[in-house]
């Protein structure tokens, strides 16, 4: 029912109905932005990806097949591709003088100024390898099932389970200073 409703909204938005586009945008905006943020670790890039994602959606509405999954899943797939494209483009645009210098890890703003646990967790997630990060973001933060996560990342369920396990192992170590028994959480080294 929701799939049918979203397909209809998408058709109307693609035909130029601003209100239909607004409904779709407001319904999925935060999820799309959140996933883009977890993948890119950068709010500016996440916003660019979010905007581009919705514009592409209405530019090519026929590419969405409701029979293959929900619109939300389709949008996650688009975010995944767009973040990869943005990362590749950014890598190409590096000035020659900076070649050879170590790349700075993507950290959220004000990471070192706050001991906020939520920020620490999000930052630790952005430090994960890309495939583990996207699996964890979809499964833990976006609430997708293992099957849905596997469909979005284009892998089988066993592979997703393995990535999740490795991601959690890394987080266990990275977030060790924030365990219950620790009185004063510290920022990560």
């Amino acid at each position: 029912m929701l799939h049918h409703d979203e397909s209809l909204l998408l058709k109307r938005a693609a035909a130029g109905h601003t209100e239909a586009f607004r409904v779709l945008f407001e319904r999925h905006r935060e999820a799309v932005y959140r996933f883009a943020w977890h993948l890119s670790g950068n709010s500016g890039s996440a916003e660019d990806v979010t905007q581009e994602c919705f514009l592409r959606l209405v530019r090519h509405p026929q590419r969405f097949d409701a029979g293959r999954g929900s619109l939300r899943q389709y949008l996650y797939g688009m975010v995944r591709n767009l973040v990869r494209q943005h990362r590749d483009a950014a890598a190409r645009e590096l000035p020659l003088e900076e070649e050879g210098e170590p790349a700075l890890p993507a950290r959220p703003p004000a990471w070192s100024e706050t001991a906020d646990v939520a920020r620490a967790v999000h930052a630790a997630v952005t430090e994960l390898p890309a495939l583990q990060r996207e699996a964890l973001a979809l499964f833990e933060f976006e609430g997708l099932s293992l099957e849905e996560t596997a469909a979005v990342v284009g892998a089988d369920v066993g592979t997703v389970k393995s990535r999740l396990y490795r991601a959690r192992e890394r987080l266990r170590r990275a977030l060790a200073p924030y365990g219950k028994e620790k009185q004063a959480p510290r920022s990560l080294p």
Partner: protein, 140 residues
């Protein structure tokens, strides 16, 4: 430092989920403006020129092949012709003439038949009538 156990990690992830990163208020306005720009229909010639045309794959392939052929032909036509400088010279040539001669029909051999000639075929003359065609005095 000991790594977290499952419960501790889940608790931290729940905390993080409760405070998700949120987009700026400008994102909505920016995206709606971009959508409005996207939907703004071009008018007149712009609409006509920017209108996509669907071409069936076989026709497209045929057109591509035709373009390649035309390009190749044009390349050949446009190539500068090879100019060879010449001068007129006199070349001695031995011309051959065809000569017709009557030959006996029943002759089996070809070529001159002097080997088989006998005096029987040349009977003696009956009468000799000498005639002076030119005199030595004529030269004097």
């Amino acid at each position: 430092m000991n790594p977290l156990n499952d419960d501790e990690l889940d608790a931290l992830l729940r905390q993080a989920k409760a405070e998700p990163p949120s987009s700026s208020p400008e994102l909505s306005a920016r995206t709606m403006a971009a959508y409005a720009g996207l939907r703004r229909r071009p008018s007149g010639w712009q609409a006509l020129l920017s209108r996509p045309i669907r071409i069936p794959a076989p026709a497209g392939l045929l057109a591509a092949a035709a373009l390649v052929a035309i390009g190749a032909a044009a390349g050949r036509t446009l190539a500068p012709p090879v100019v060879v400088q010449t001068r007129n010279v006199e070349v001695p040539v031995v011309q051959e003439h065809v000569v017709y001669r009557d030959c006996p029909v029943n002759s089996q051999t070809h070529g001159p038949q002097t080997g088989g000639l006998t005096f029987q075929e040349l009977p003696p003359v009956q009468e000799i009538k000498p005639r002076v065609v030119r005199s030595i005095r004529d030269d004097q």
